[in-house]
Symmetry: C2
């Protein structure tokens, strides 16, 4: 990929900056264009779909998610590692509204994001497996199911206030505990 032309790089930054001021789950690319001070065409050239723009916005959070997974994998106690990771994952979901869409999408994603996603899922999967082998997490859930449950809890928190976060994540963790 050839490096961006100077004006293109400027536009891209302006677009991202404007997009950050919006809810990633309800992006109006026309609005973003106006607020960024560029034409609509420019937005669509840089990001072919709204999803592509969300992906770019979410990249940092996705990166932190990978970091969380790696850090947790290094912890000795499987149960503690799983719990810490799950809490951190939910927090990231709540901070970055676009994370869920990006993680759940199955197409239209860049190579880069696809690689990150698969690395994250593998890491979190083995984290879960370890906790299950240690007998601290119920054995009848798959990594994908845990992922969907986290998305469900994120959804539930968003239905009310952020105050609910602690009770909800405690409830999920208690529900996932073996026995």
């Amino acid at each position: 990929m050839t490096p961006l032309r100077a004006d293109a790089a400027r536009s891209r930054e302006r677009i991202l900056e404007a997009a950050r001021r919006h809810d990633p789950r309800d992006l109006r690319l026309n609005d973003v264009a106006r607020e960024a001070g560029v034409g609509v065409g420019t937005v669509y050239r840089h990001f072919a779909t709204a999803h592509a723009l969300v992906e770019a916005l979410t990249f940092e959070a996705l990166d932190r998610l990978a970091e969380v997974a790696r850090t947790a994998a290094a912890r000795p106690d499987p149960g503690h590692a799983f719990e810490t990771a799950l809490r951190a994952v939910l927090d990231l979901h709540l901070e970055s509204g676009g994370l869920q869409a990006v993680l759940l999408a199955n197409e239209d994603m860049s190579e880069e994001v696809a690689a990150l996603k698969s690395a994250i899922l593998t890491e979190l999967g083995s984290l879960l497996e370890r906790a299950q082998a240690a007998g601290v997490v119920r054995p009848d859930v798959s990594p994908e199911q845990v992922q969907r449950l986290v998305c469900g809890i994120e959804y539930a928190v968003r239905l009310g206030t952020l105050q609910d976060r602690d009770v909800f994540v405690d409830t999920l963790l208690a529900g996932l505990r073996a026995h």
Copy 2:
């Protein structure tokens, strides 16, 4: 309210029938009109907003929900009553895609629906309170929080397959259990 004219009653039924073939969370009133064989204007006269139409579609489920709440309230064992009710509530949510929107809405609802909703919430609330008093459900959740958790689990199930339903509801119930 004066009784409907014959053609109006016929149109209403055709509209409801056509609407039932659609996902309540994504209703195109124009499509409904075409499939019902009536003009768009007719749809909008019968149901001022998409939400009003969903409310009408959901009425039966809402009624069954009230029934569930009443039946559960009659059970002697508080823990069992709560668990049975919660399972039934989730099943109703999964069957009727519009239930969540209707239950969570705070405006634009008919007198009739508002009354049903408040009755349901009261009943389910006292069900929860009983279970908490008996020490079988964690005391730090409110009825509204439980409602949001159920919506979150419904959401999580919809993200995957209906197969997940049992594991997910078990997880939620385990999480809500005291200790």
